[in-house]
Amino acid sequence: MDYERKKNLREPEQTNEAADSEVSTHEQGSIEVFKARDKETKRYVALKKVLMENEKEGFPITALREIKILQLLKYENVVNLLEICRTKATPYNRFKSTFYLVFEFCEHDLAGLLSNVNVKFSLGEIKKVMQQLLNGLFFIHYNKILHRDMKAANILITKSGCLKLADFGLARAFSANKGQATRYTNRVVTLWYRPPELLLGERNYGPPIDLWGAGCIMAEMWTRSPIMQGSTEQHQLNLISQLCGSITPEVWPGVQNLELFNKLDLPKGQKRKVKERLKPYVRCQYALDLLDKLLTLNPNQRLDADAALNHDFFWMDPPPADLEKMLSHHTTSMFEFLAPPRRRGMQPHPQQQRPPVQQQNPDQHYDRVF
């Protein structure tokens, strides 16, 4: 009932007000996100516009899933959906209002923080980030939800250091019914964070796909840029094989039955070098061990969120440390889309680039990015 009233207080105000120079709208995929302020409480929120892309579909099924899932998932480490609002239907928009998902505002995203050289994470702070991330994953998996788009840009961090999994636009519920093979789409997860089973065409997948992404993000905490930046699915599999060893039925029984196993050219004779290649960046042996176990080729052997949280990494000195103090040095919002283009020489390897993710780029071949 007071939905209407609230709505009027919170017309999406595109914040071009002076104080908000750090804010802009950005399009990620087909989604526009705004920063806005609740006129009454003065609280900042993020507005995600529901784009009516496919007119025939009506209200998009992805938006319905996101609403449905986020109404179900209320948790510290999951982005908080405050409400749904809409613009008033007037003759000017032919009585068609626009729907917005209203989220609590988070100041930073992890990709933005990692691309800023002035932001430095101590080992304890990295532990805190990973612990919260895995906590979030544990919670959503416990509630039978797959995120399906793990990447640094979808990890939000508030200025007080609380991490939130965000963007459930690709998420869906999964059935734990092991006997019945499911047929989900495998066209999910940004290429650089996509696990080997999806790349090989698996359609009966589950929570391990999100844990692979968690492993990639964890490595990125030290390398500061995505560790496997493939330009095509084939290229991504090459990069994975070079890091995690050849994909064979010996290390991964049953892999030969996946649809694309015989159709793609998988590098043979590659040795597993996860620890070896990450060692120059990651000095902590527990961290290396956890990385090794998250970046496991065989999804059935990959650590789940619960086991990862019990790993020694989180229980040996130094303990996880709050992020608030470190973040208080950085008062402007850091989002990936706001980050300045990285200058040559600033980064160990200048050829890195983030978006566009799915584009083929035959000119560039970075087999080793770190």
């Binding site: 579909e57 009506g58 319905l64 449905k68 109404q71 239907a89 009585f95 068609k96 729907f99 869906r172």
Partner: protein, 290 residues
């Protein structure tokens, strides 16, 4: 939280219906809602929906009219809209627009000729898509529904073990739950209570002794009995009711939108509550978008 928001109070329900019941008696109102619940059921069966999807569509329909007058949007448009949204929310997949509209046309023509005569299903997909907005808004985007079917399965299984009953009990209770979609109970009581009421009624009908099993439940049995009364009320109504004969004139009597459906049904719930002139005059629901 979302569950509680949508367990309504009997008084609220009556208040929201006041304007419609200036035109229709309580019983006539119920008959119209039953008619459209049947319509959604037929539609769902033609579209090969699981019962769960049909139940969701039916409860969406009830929730919309629990907050809005029949006058706000023609239920003949709202019914397929609920089916359309429910199929997406329940992951049944997006219906092809053509299929939805053709199915509506067929169902109206072949199954409900007694209600609509020779009038064809008058709506197009653009109107369904528009109606979906109002539906979502009216429900505050609360999309997740729980139905009595799952708790019913659990109770029946538990009862099976302790009382050595059979599947026929479950089958009968299941049908009673289906019937309960034609009453207000889905708006008034949590799903597990409806499941218990159905199970209780079924065991009485089949003369099973389930007294001890029910006695051991930590449940407010008075509430369960209230649910039972609602459902028995429906059976009572069905006894002397010939839908084929009556529904045509009831639909004529039903309050109808005055303007084209491209207008918002209401600006806030209070605006449409004031009844306009009694007994509506138009004969068939043929208002068109312009």
């Amino acid at each position: 939280m979302y569950l509680q928001q949508w367990i309504l109070d009997k008084q609220d329900l009556l208040r929201e219906r006041e304007s419609d019941q200036k035109v229709l008696s309580e019983e006539e109102y119920q008959k119209i809602i039953i008619f459209f619940a049947n319509f959604i059921q037929s539609l769902g069966e033609h579209l090969k929906f699981r019962q769960q999807v049909i139940a969701t569509a039916t409860v969406y329909f009830k929730r919309y009219y629990a907050r809005n007058s029949l006058r706000s949007i023609d239920p003949l448009l709202m019914a397929p809209t609920c089916a359309f949204l429910a199929s997406k929310v329940e992951e049944f997949g997006v219906l092809s627009n053509n299929r939805l509209i053709t199915t509506c046309q067929q169902v109206v023509k072949n199954k409900y000729g007694y209600a609509y005569g020779s009038t064809e299903f008058p709506y197009r997909i653009s109107q369904v898509l528009e109606c979906e907005f109002y539906l979502l808004e009216s429900m505050d985007c609360c999309l997740i529904l729980y139905h009595p079917y799952r708790p019913l399965l659990q109770y029946a299984q538990d009862l099976n073990q302790s009382e050595n009953s059979s599947d026929s009990l479950l089958q009968l209770s299941w049908r009673i739950v289906n019937d309960s979609l034609r009453t207000d109970v889905a708006l008034l009581y949590p799903p597990f209570m409806i499941a218990l009421a159905a199970l209780h009624m079924a065991s009485v009908m089949q003369q099973r002794d389930t007294k001890t099993w029910f006695a051991e439940l930590a449940v407010d049995l008075d509430k369960v009995l209230e649910v039972t009364k609602h459902i028995l009320g429906l059976y009572e109504l069905w006894k002397n009711y010939d839908e084929k004969k009556e529904i045509g004139s009831l639909l004529n009597k039903m309050p109808k939108p005055k303007t084209a459906p491209s207008r918002p049904p209401s600006q806030g719930p209070s605006a449409q509550d004031l009844p306009q002139q009694g007994g509506s005059q138009s004969s068939q629901p043929t208002q068109q978008d312009t």
